[in-house]
């Protein structure tokens, strides 16, 4: 049998200790494998893989700049991918059902050997594109990230600083000239986003529009009274300011 050219690999992980670990284990399990480069993030890994054209790329899943799954997508069909992770329940579950190989940090030597044997067998074929699996992984990586699409923080400028105001701190929003005023029990701030855009982004369970120019946080409402014109007026916890409810929003307070 003619000696096959030595296989090449790169290893990507944002922590050097972890790169050292996988490199050390690969040397033991597969001495002929040439580790031709190491990368500290997903973007570097893709760039390095493009320039060195290794047969195999070992990718940590959580890395800065570009995660391992996106890097694998970029390299689909160009190299054989092995994912490496310390703990990613969602991913491991997906790997079990997919054609892609993975290693758990710290990997058992026996487990590394199995991966290396599988890789040797696979090197004779073209790398699989793995489209479906990677899409599934991306989806799972995104799950739990945005528990809700509603606005939870409002970015506003307060005394020259940019401040992130939690929506749970806000009493109400009110349109004023070109700006929208954000009122909390302690301070007020101005934002550029108009009320009609805010209404679409805020959680409708958390905030109610009570006037063309006013959106109030329901939990901040202390009581409702009526003004001389008979319109309901909202009193707030933590502010002396009252807010009038305009006719088209009267129905909101009928059940209360």
């Amino acid at each position: 049998m003619p000696p096959a050219p030595a296989a090449t690999a790169i290893v990507a992980d944002d922590e050097r200790l972890m790169r050292d670990q996988i490199v050390g284990q690969l040397r033991e399990a597969w001495p002929e494998l040439a580790i031709v480069g190491e990368a500290g993030n997903g973007r570097e890994a893709v760039a390095l893989a493009r320039s060195l054209e290794p047969d195999i790329v070992f990718l940590d899943i959580r890395m800065p700049e570009m995660n391992g799954i996106d890097a694998a997508k970029a390299l689909a069909g160009e190299a054989h991918i092995v994912f490496v992770t310390a703990y990613d329940e969602y991913a491991i579950d997906a790997f079990e059902h997919g054609a892609v190989d993975y290693l758990l940090k710290p990997a058992e030597p026996g487990r590394v050997k199995i991966t290396c044997e599988r890789l040797r067998a696979r090197l004779e074929r073209k790398p699989l594109p793995m489209d479906d699996l990677l899409t599934e992984l991306s989806r799972r990586l995104g799950v739990g990230k945005s528990s809700s699409d509603h606005l939870r923080w409002v970015q506003a400028s307060v005394g020259g600083n940019i401040r992130m105001i939690a929506t749970s701190d806000i009493l109400f929003f009110r349109a004023e000239d070109k700006y929208t005023r954000v009122q909390t029990p302690r301070f007020e701030a101005l934002i550029r986003k108009p009320i009609k855009e805010l209404v679409l982004e805020l959680d409708p369970e958390e905030f109610w529009q009570i006037h063309r120019a006013t959106v109030v946080r329901v939990a901040a409402v202390e009581q409702i009274s009526r003004n001389l014109r008979g319109n309901p007026v909202v009193h707030l916890k933590g502010s002396a300011e009252t807010l009038e409810v305009s006719r088209s929003f009267h129905h909101l307070f009928h059940q209360m």
């Binding site: 959580r62 990613d88 940090k105 600083n161 749970s168 409402v221 009526r226």
Partner: protein, 302 residues
């Protein structure tokens, strides 16, 4: 939610006017509402006896029709009033129960979230993998890192009964265990500066809040940045309040998964101090995130 008018019946008019006419009017009102309330609470048995007496009295005084009208009116009012009364009592009870339940739930939830949010499996497994590697290459450092992990785990274990109120100094110690671990793992991708005056280490500061800010700074600030950055921890007293900040030079605040920890801090601050404490998140002009917790300044037990 009720309108601002005074509920009838339960309150006697407070302002006493000297004018005789309004004195009489308010007198009648008191008697009327007193009667109304009496009707609402009196048992049907008693009412029947009273009606019988009224009928006899009406017969004796030769006003049988008037007596009958009064009795029928009383019976109608009784039906309405007791219904209203029952509804009021039920509503009051429900409100009280809801308030107590809400408070209890807030406290329990805050405690549970505080416990849950602590040990992140990703952190734990990555740290153990790092220790495993160090055992091969640098055993003394492996031992050191493992001790840091033990210290961190011990601090993160649920402590339902805390004998003393936690101090800023203790909280800072617990953070250093975590930061020591991350310093080994991230190497030169993390620089740390702690600037807490010695005098403030004995100040009372709630548990696990500084930890949350520090972990957020690493996880959402520095780790997603290829070149990493620095973390500044500082404390000062401003207007009688203790302000503790954690600033990182990371990728900047991105609303999302990090919000859970901050929401928990916010809720616990609210439960512990009400409006006297706050959490502020600023985005400094030079980049990164600066989170500040302000609590009333109190010296803790030594």
């Amino acid at each position: 939610m009720s309108s601002s008018e005074v509920p009838p019946g339960n309150t006697a008019p407070r302002a006493r006017s000297r004018e005789p006419l309004s004195d009489i009017r308010s007198g009648i009102a008191v008697v009327w509402w007193g009667f109304f309330d009496w009707l609402a609470v009196v048992s049907w048995m008693k009412l029947a006896v009273v009606c019988l007496l009224a009928m006899i009295l009406g017969g004796i005084l030769n006003f049988p029709l008037l007596a009958l009208v009064v009795i029928i009116a009383s019976l109608i009012i009784k039906v309405i009033a007791s219904g209203k009364r029952r509804a009021e009592v039920t509503a009051e009870e429900a409100t009280r129960r809801a308030e107590t339940e809400q408070l209890e739930r807030t406290v329990v939830e805050a405690r549970m979230q505080a416990l849950q949010a602590q040990i992140e499996p990703h952190f734990l497994f990555n740290t153990l993998a790092s220790i495993d590697q160090l055992i091969l290459t640098d055993p003394p450092r492996a031992s050191q890192m493992q001790r840091s992990l033990i210290r961190y785990l011990r601090s993160a274990m649920p402590k339902m009964r805390e004998a003393k109120r936690p101090t800023l100094g203790q909280q800072l110690d617990l953070c250093t265990a975590y930061l020591e671990i991350m310093a080994v793992r991230m190497e030169d991708r993390m620089q740390l500066a702690v600037n807490v005056p010695k005098g403030l280490t004995s100040a009372v500061f709630p548990s696990m809040m500084l930890q949350t800010l520090v972990e957020n700074a690493i996880k959402h600030g520095l780790e997603p940045k290829a070149e990493g950055g620095r973390i500044d921890i500082g404390a000062e007293v401003v207007d009688g309040r203790l302000a503790v900040h954690v600033q990182d030079s990371g990728v900047g605040f991105r609303p999302g998964p990090g919000g859970v920890g901050l929401a928990n801090v916010r809720e616990r601050l609210q439960a512990l101090y009400g409006d006297r404490a706050e959490l502020i998140v600023d985005l400094p002009a030079q980049g990164g995130t600066r989170a500040t917790i302000m609590v009333p300044y109190e010296i803790g037990a030594p």
